[in-house]
């Protein structure tokens, strides 16, 4: 929604997540997590972050990126493709059943089940 709000303003809004439990204080060092090496390391966030704040990253809006999938042996463009998805899963196609006169336009037949 924020990404929709800033569309056309020169400001972008994207999501960047580690992709799973990361080696931070959010995951206490107990049980299987005692071995911190098994967790996603915080520095995986850096390459996609640098790409997103670069001039080139200015074209990217309304995407979510999973940093753990970033492969430093391949180029940034390919990585952005591999790690990225649309925000909030519109690909599910879950749509409200809206009347014809709804200002938001589309009349859907209800595709709630995705």
């Amino acid at each position: 929604m924020i990404a929709g709000g800033v569309a056309g303003t020169g400001v972008t809004c994207n999501v960047l997540i580690p992709g799973g439990p990361a080696d931070t204080r959010m995951i206490s060092a107990t049980g299987v997590y005692e071995n911190r090496d098994k967790l996603i390391q915080p520095d995986v966030m850096v390459p996609p972050l640098l790409e997103l704040v670069s001039e080139k990253g200015g074209k990217i809006n309304n995407r979510r990126f999973r940093a753990a999938l970033w492969d430093t042996s391949i180029g940034a463009d390919e990585n952005l493709q591999n790690c990225g998805d649309p925000i909030a899963w519109p690909q599910l196609g879950g749509k409200a059943i809206r009347p014809d006169n709804d200002p938001r336009g589309n009349k859907n037949t209800g595709n709630e089940n995705g």
Binding site: M1, G4, A68, A88, A96, P99, N101, P103, E112
Partner: protein, 278 residues
């Protein structure tokens, strides 16, 4: 009423004073349920309580003025309901602040997120996302004691969660949708279920202001919530948990009108260390 589907059931329903809440309360009462009705607005709540009394009799309903996102107020409402009726079987978390709170015409002229009143944003997240947790957490021990219970959370359609103009409503409902999936997992094996019930699109309530230009009769009507609400509160829905039910599709049968809660079909789970099973 003697053959009502909800004889002996005690239902606590929030946001009972109008809209979907009122419609569901009347239908639940018609099926013999005893009702603890919660709302902030005392006058509207009293009116609905009178309507319910006319259906179920004087002892069938208690109106409880409470703020669902105030921890003491929410817990007190649940406490009074349990004291009065001796049990709680079903909770409908229906109370919510809608898009009308941010704009007269939230769809035609959707406000940008940076234009939202910060206090309304926080209030909406509190009522819509935290309120259901406070009510459910207080009520669920009463249900588990009897080995049977229902938590029904009212959310919204997926695309309404991120449509322009829907901040903070959409994010608050996305939070409740996800929370319902967690509730259902936590309740496995207890006899208590947690599900989502939605109209399926914009409904004829105060949440859709006249300024939107949508004719009232083109909207989904609150009465469409009645049949699925009764079914969810009844023994007939035993075994259904972690699902979302769409009232507007109810007439097309259970399969078409239901889906897993919070869209697990995406299958995009977190990247976990190999040894960890979740």
């Amino acid at each position: 009423m003697a053959d009502g589907k909800l004889i002996g059931k005690v239902v606590l329903l929030t946001g009972a004073g109008r809209g979907l809440g009122r419609a569901m309360a009347l239908a639940l009462s018609e099926q013999g349920a005893h009702l603890a009705l919660v709302d902030l607005d005392g006058e509207e709540l009293q009116e609905v309580a009178h309507e319910v009394q006319a259906i179920g009799g004087g002892a069938s309903v208690i109106p409880l003025g409470a703020d669902v996102c105030d921890p003491e107020s929410a817990a007190t409402a649940v406490h009074y309901a349990a004291e009065n009726f001796g049990r709680i079987d079903v909770v409908f978390n229906n109370a919510a602040l809608g898009p009308q709170a941010v704009s007269e015409d939230p769809f035609g002229a959707p406000p940008k997120f940076w234009e939202l009143n910060p206090y309304i944003f926080i209030r909406m997240m509190d009522i819509n996302a935290a309120g259901p947790q406070l009510i459910a957490a207080a009520a669920v021990p009463h249900m588990m004691k009897n080995g049977w219970g229902r938590i029904v959370n009212i959310t919204t359609a997926l695309d309404a969660m991120y449509a322009p103009g829907m901040g903070a409503y959409g994010p608050s409902k996305a939070a409740l949708e996800a929370h319902t999936a967690i509730m259902a997992k936590d309740l496995e094996g207890t006899g208590v279920t947690a599900n989502v019930l939605i109209p399926g699109g914009p409904a004829n309530t105060r949440m859709i202001p006249d300024a939107t230009g949508i004719p009232r009769d083109a909207l989904i009507q609150p009465e469409d919530m009645q049949a699925p609400a009764v079914w969810l509160a009844s023994d007939e829905s035993d075994g259904h948990s972690g699902k979302r039910f769409i009232a507007a599709l109810w007439g097309q049968g259970l399969e078409k009108a239901s889906a897993p809660c919070a869209w697990p079909q995406l299958g995009q789970q977190a990247i976990l260390p190999g040894s960890i099973g979740r």
